[in-house]
Symmetry: C2
Subunit: 347 residues, 2 copies
Amino acid sequence: MSETSRAIGLKELARVLGLSVPTVSRALGGYSDVSQKTRERVVQAAREHGYVASRAGRMLVSGRSNAIGMMLPQPAGQITDAFVGEFLLGLADSLAELGRDLFLAASSQSRDELQVLRHMVDGSQADGIVINRLTVDDARARVLIARRIPFVAHGRLIEAPGPYSWLDTDGEKALDGLARQLVSLGHRRFALVMPDVAYTFAHFRSRGLERALSELGLPLRPDHIAKVAPNDHDGAHAEARALLSLDPRPTAVIALTDQLAFAVLEVARELGLGVPGDVSVVGFDNVPMAVYANPPLTTFDQNIRESGRIAGDMVVARIELGEAGIRTLLLEPKLELRASHGPAPAD
Amino acid sequence: MSETSRAIGLKELARVLGLSVPTVSRALGGYSDVSQKTRERVVQAAREHGYVASRAGRMLVSGRSNAIGMMLPQPAGQITDAFVGEFLLGLADSLAELGRDLFLAASSQSRDELQVLRHMVDGSQADGIVINRLTVDDARARVLIARRIPFVAHGRLIEAPGPYSWLDTDGEKALDGLARQLVSLGHRRFALVMPDVAYTFAHFRSRGLERALSELGLPLRPDHIAKVAPNDHDGAHAEARALLSLDPRPTAVIALTDQLAFAVLEVARELGLGVPGDVSVVGFDNVPMAVYANPPLTTFDQNIRESGRIAGDMVVARIELGEAGIRTLLLEPKLELRASHGPAPAD
DNA sequence: ATGAAAGCGCTAACAA
DNA sequence: TTGTTAGCGCTTTCAT
């Protein structure tokens, strides 16, 4: 790109070439009804002048924006951290390959989630939407489904009022498998630490755990389940301390996010408990720091960046194929076996 | 928002109201030359029908997009993690408050950084740009400065070819202060772990450290400086192992990012070295996991989300005021004193 | 206080 | 093969 020239429009480009505006447009658009020679001249001139079609013009005539809107999760739920960034990187990458733009929208004090959605959709800023971190009664998903707006959810509803595209990791199956694995390692007393927000991922994961344990005749007792507010560091510690102070003490503590697992590890250290000698701890997410935990955390890997990439492909398919493009995808998270779990201690 | 209605346009709205299109537009725009009664009718109807002005129409007539473009750092430099996400959350929040939209652009195999920039600027998708993680010879910054395009850099160039808006944390001053503090704790042998990419933040931070140590008569020896490729977990460990195996061993290892500091902590543990008993370790960034490290990591806090918010305010000021709106801001990071540093061991 | 007309940049339909 | 005309949705003259 020239370092100094200003942007050039189609009109100006046509003037320079001594052609009409539509001819230039067709040449650039690759239409067949323009002479080979003219096309080359036009393409050449466009490149030289660094011509880039104005999005406004395109949007106006096509009625579409060529952009995908992603709603950022509420700043309130600050679990964010690595997640949002990693997901966005994958999403942006995929959309860039597909020639689509990515549009970010955050709700704020002055504009709630639904207003933001409307801004994107009715203002035709985005041809499709990506949302994540769904709650049990997710208002965004419900509106998007009802209005038949193309969107992809990262995560899924428990009961959907209609078909929609989603991709999710199978937390239910994952925790079912984990429970059986730990039981086979001799564990009999389990505890669960989960977020207190009604995210559906927490629902599925905890359901998998509870169901497996029930089937194995070791139902999870209510006082062995701790719920923690997002980002409440002290609260997480208090709950972890309570769980690890139970008598008899659980030998395996499952945390539904790595963030929560770290809190458990820290409390275990404070209480002088060995991990995994006295208690096994397992997380979920495999955030980059999991490998640096002490001991390195056994946790489920979600490949969040790849999920972002897939979400991009899915939303574009949904846009281009209409409702026939609705897809669902359940990914299997992989358990990263590290050093925070082991056989149950002898009683 | 109605759950079923489709988007309505100005024309349709005017028809419903029995008014002309321009009158409705003026009423909504808050112009004074429309009767009080008409305005109320219009506003009411617009609300009822969920009218949102098409962005295309607005853009076309105003010539501006009302959006800010943010270039995502190259997926190559995967230091990202919490960073991108946190920064974006702040940026999106600030822009939402200011009524601006946020566009994300990622370079890909098929479109390099400068093409992406041109796409945003010449296609008038964005009125202003935000870039971060600047390198010593940052092509993006140079083009933006040369073309006088409104932008804000998070981070800054070492030598700029012209004025531009930036905000940065004062890594130079921070590490100068840290060096003096550690020397006063008795440390005499220092080592430095830094990224091998020419990010300017690394330049400033290392300069601060090296200058202070030189002034104190303890110049940092070249073999006490390790450079690590981004996200090269094994490489980081190898370098850390080399540093901690030097004889005599450094008593203080400064890592320019928390990520690198974690690697040092892990290697220290492997080598059976006590932290901070045998060696002090300090990081930079205060990522959320720093508090969970073993021992909890002493590191500089940048308040990355707040930086995103400030960047949003700055880029809007730059757009609205033109070159008169150019601002620079050097924030002072705060050293979070945790448990990974302490007095130098007795020799 | 309101309506009519023009035009932003682009592409699609039609005419030559 | 090219040029002319029209129109996307909106705002801003200008005229009434």
